[in-house]
């Protein structure tokens, strides 16, 4: 990780050298380390040190972008010249508002010293502890233990200068018994202090043991009690298809044209709050704009998308500080999402079901079938059980489901008091904090062999 003063000086010098009318520089500097294990042994163990700079320039209302990890001042200047050359031949974007000027973001709890200092030996010891727990129940483990430590900085010619240091940690554990039955769970936190290795391993192994001897159940609409990990997966997908202003502009989002209307059940409120310490704080976006809290859905009513500078200018609204990387332009997206809690315990949710399915995890969710209806498909995975007469009765084989997430979140009968923070499936730092839910009439549409 490049030292803070050196990194900001490098960006400042590069801004000065830019031939463009306006310039924005985004730098990520840090390390990613990951220990992967399968069949209870470590099969992959990797470390990466990198620093890259994304340069976005404007010539009038024409823009161009380059990204490089060659940090010599001459190389950075050359990258800016290439971006400028791109901008000069690009068509004008009449909506381009210029690069935003942002106030400094308030301090947030984003960095864990212990995580930055974690060694491969420490990760191996943690994996070893998990493997021992599995062996005691005659199961083997697969999974990954990943940590990152980074410095993220944005500077532009409008005067924005922001830097923060961050870490995150992720542990996934997937237990398998001698009959290839599985149980899985995971944990995500700002740092390794938030990862309970033994607790995660025990939960995965217990799920696996309980999943033994699965029976086939006819697939039909059924009530489900669904754990936070599965809910976070569909909400992460909606990040790609629904919650950003770009998806609304392109009429891809199920919320487009429906703001002010009821789209989910009135017991569901979904917010994004980058500074809520219950999630994983991320103080500013890829344009260096301090993040603002946004209520996306309030008591079931679609309220707002999230914005970056371009989409905000187009709609004539305030920028909410949710820009993504200029190199890929997926558009703005929320990064620290929260679903309001309910008032039940997990056992109370199960007790409300006469006959239904308990879902620990979804697998291979795809939300592109019909984005306007938020029609998704996917499988259940690694911990699927039949609920009968208000209690978990036996394990069942996994099933395919195909259902609208508008209907899903409209038929939530109850939620737990407790919420869990789940690492975002989009891969970057970010999270979804959600309770478990009881959803009525979930549409199972197929079966598989295990």
């Amino acid at each position: 990780m490049i030292e803070k003063t050196k990194l900001t000086a490098m960006l400042g010098e590069a801004l000065q050298s830019s031939p463009a009318d306006e310039t924005e520089l985004v730098a990520w500097s840090g390390s990613n380390s990951l220990t992967r294990f399968a069949e209870s042994h470590i099969h992959q163990n990797v470390h990466e040190e990198n620093t890259y700079v994304t340069a976005r320039v404007a010539v009038g209302k024409r823009t161009g972008v380059t990204m490089t990890n060659r940090l010599d001042p001459r190389e950075l200047k050359a990258a800016l010249e290439r971006a400028t050359a791109i901008a000069k031949v690009s068509p004008e974007d009449p909506d381009f508002p210029g690069f935003p000027k942002s106030d400094a973001a308030p301090a947030a709890d984003t960095f864990s010293e212990a995580t930055a200092a974690m060694t491969p030996e420490m990760r191996a010891r943690a994996v070893g502890e998990a493997v021992e727990i599995a062996a005691s129940k005659k199961t083997t483990l697969s999974g990954a233990y990943r940590v990152s430590a980074f410095r993220f900085a944005v500077a532009n010619t409008s005067g924005t200068e922001q830097v923060y240091d961050g870490t995150d940690a992720f542990l996934s554990v997937f237990a398998t018994d001698e009959n290839k039955v599985n149980g899985a769970t995971a944990s995500y936190a700002r740092g390794i202090e938030g990862i309970d290795v033994k607790g995660v391993a025990t939960r995965a192994v217990d799920k696996c043991v309980a999943a033994a001897n699965p029976v086939t159940v006819d697939y039909e609409p059924m009530d489900i009690v669904v754990e936070p990990r599965a809910i976070a997966e569909v909400i992460s997908w909606l990040n790609f298809t629904a919650f950003g202003a770009k998806q609304v502009h392109e009429n891809m989002s199920f919320m487009a044209g429906r703001f002010g209307e009821k789209v989910w059940g009135e017991n569901i409120t979904l917010t994004d709050d980058a500074f809520d310490p219950a999630g994983i704080p991320v103080p500013f976006d890829f344009e260096g704009v301090t993040k603002k809290p946004v209520t996306l859905i309030e008591k079931g009513i679609a309220r707002s998308a999230v914005y970056d500078s371009l989409t905000a200018a187009k709609d004539g609204v305030a920028n909410t500080g949710h820009a993504g990387s200029a190199a890929f332009r997926g558009g703005p997206a929320p990064r620290n999402l929260f679903v309001t809690a309910g008032d039940k315990s997990r056992d109370e949710l199960i007790g409300m079901v006469d006959r239904g399915i308990y879902v620990s995890n979804f697998h291979y969710v795809n939300g592109l079938l019909d984005t306007r209806r938020a029609l998704f498909t996917g499988m259940t995975r690694a911990g699927t059980y039949l609920i009968e007469d208000g209690r978990i009765a036996k394990a069942v084989k996994n099933m395919r489901w195909t259902d609208s997430m508008m209907r899903f979140f409209s038929d939530v009968a109850a939620m737990t008091k407790e919420r869990e923070t789940i690492g975002a499936s989009w891969g970057a730092v970010g999270s979804v904090t959600t309770p478990a839910m009881l959803v009525r009439g979930f549409k199972f549409t197929g079966a598989t062999e295990f």
């Binding site: 990613n32 992967r36 294990f37 399968a38 069949e39 042994h41 470590i42 099969h43 163990n45 990797v46 470390h47 990466e48 040190e49 990198n50 620093t51 890259y52 823009t63 380059t66 990204m67 990890n69 990258a79 290439r82 791109i86 901008a87 031949v89 690009s90 974007d93 491969p120 030996e121 191996a124 493997v131 697969s142 999974g143 990954a144 990943r146 996934s172 997937f174 398998t176 599985n182 899985a184 392109e250 009429n251 795809n366 592109l368 079938l369 019909d370 984005t371 209806r373 498909t377 996917g378 499988m379 995975r381 996994n398 395919r400 195909t402 259902d403 609208s404 891969g427 079966a447 062999e449």
Partner: protein, 482 residues
Amino acid sequence: MKELLKQVMDELKSLGVDYADARRVVGTSEILVMKNGKLETASVMESSGFGIRVLAGGAWGFSSSSLETPEAVRDVAAQALAIAKASASVGGGGIVLDDRAPVVDRYESGYDEDPFEVPLKDKLSILSGCCAGMSRTEGVKLATASMMSFKNDKLFVSTDGSEIEQLIVETGGGIAATAMNDAGERQTRSYPASFRGDYATRGFEFTRSLDLAGHADQCGAEALELLNADECPAVHTNLIIGGTQLALQVHESCGHPIELDRVFGTEASYAGTSFLTTDKLGSFRYGSDIVNIVADATCEGGLGSFGYDDEGVPAQRTGIVTEGMFTGYLSSRETAPRIGQQSNGTMRADGWNRIPLVRMTNINLLPGGAGSLEDLIADTDDGIFVDSNKSWSIDQRRINFQFGCEIAWEIKGGKRTRMLKNPVYTGITPEFWGNCDAICGEDEWHIFGIPSCGKGEPGQTAHVGHGVAPARFRNVEVGGKR
């Protein structure tokens, strides 16, 4: 840098490691996306660095850095060795590689026109023409045209004495027209394939050959027509699958399950394992007698083609499914010996900072004897023809799949009749391929390049190819929207 990396290989060897290799990659990529004539993305990305992989005590360690100083190289080597030792502490190592003679060579993929030498304004002019063509159809609200180009300059050295340099250039592009109506419905039609188009290990001449602008009008017209089309009915029927969709069908239900590292469980906690366990090799009926599938990294221009994989193993052609029987895997120097074989050269990393994994090359369904697509339709009394992928999902052992497609047509009495929208089909992999009763011939066969195959943690994106011709499958469950 080459001499420095070779020195470090010698130093690691003198420390008694089982094996080590180093890869330096200088990669350049360009992404251009235009929507409704406005340039949404114009990015050039450069990344350079090196990674060192060490096998010590029978366990792997890998470290990498973008800093290319002698100190950084030695630090990275030391870290990779330390990581390998940490790896050995859980599970006890035991990894053995196949025997292989060292290779000293240079390979360059062929191209006529360097995509990074083509003036940007020429590329933008093509994209602009595409948007204009699609937007000529009233009702098309979103006209998207995109191109991507890649150039990777790779150096590989190993303690075995291999020294391999490769220069690989890839290009391609695609267009998509999205029509919308007042009710808020949207329908998209793309060319030559959905999700960014078609790609090849060729120069910009390949992108030009796609004639994207020449297909813009048709995309626009079909997108609009889809808005007014009938909903695809829920039936069990004869399904003809067009090339762009069949490529993804091969990808998900054959390509991923034959990755031998996946079979051994290394992806279990992430995207899953495979139903094609090693006891099935040579004895399991994967499909009907007419189903022949090969993994071929030697096809000229295929997006999964190269000279050597990222373990220095030469590109090869391997039988995967032979007359319906499952006969081969994609393998590596580590996994192949576990089934008594030699690596067939499919270890690939998506950059200097990633470890190679077993990846698809060009997984090709060989052409059959059913003639042209029109011949196949004429031979089908009752059925549905689907094409162009819209959504995909498959279970963790690659058995139960569901695909959504952009477009379908009803087939009645050997003729393509009404257009149908929102087609979805589902199946169980071996049953589905067992019901394949016709595959079109050589003239319909094309290698589609997919530049977005995801695998592994940290995530890696591979560029892979799938040679396919339209094929027919009996008694498939087809459904409309749920």
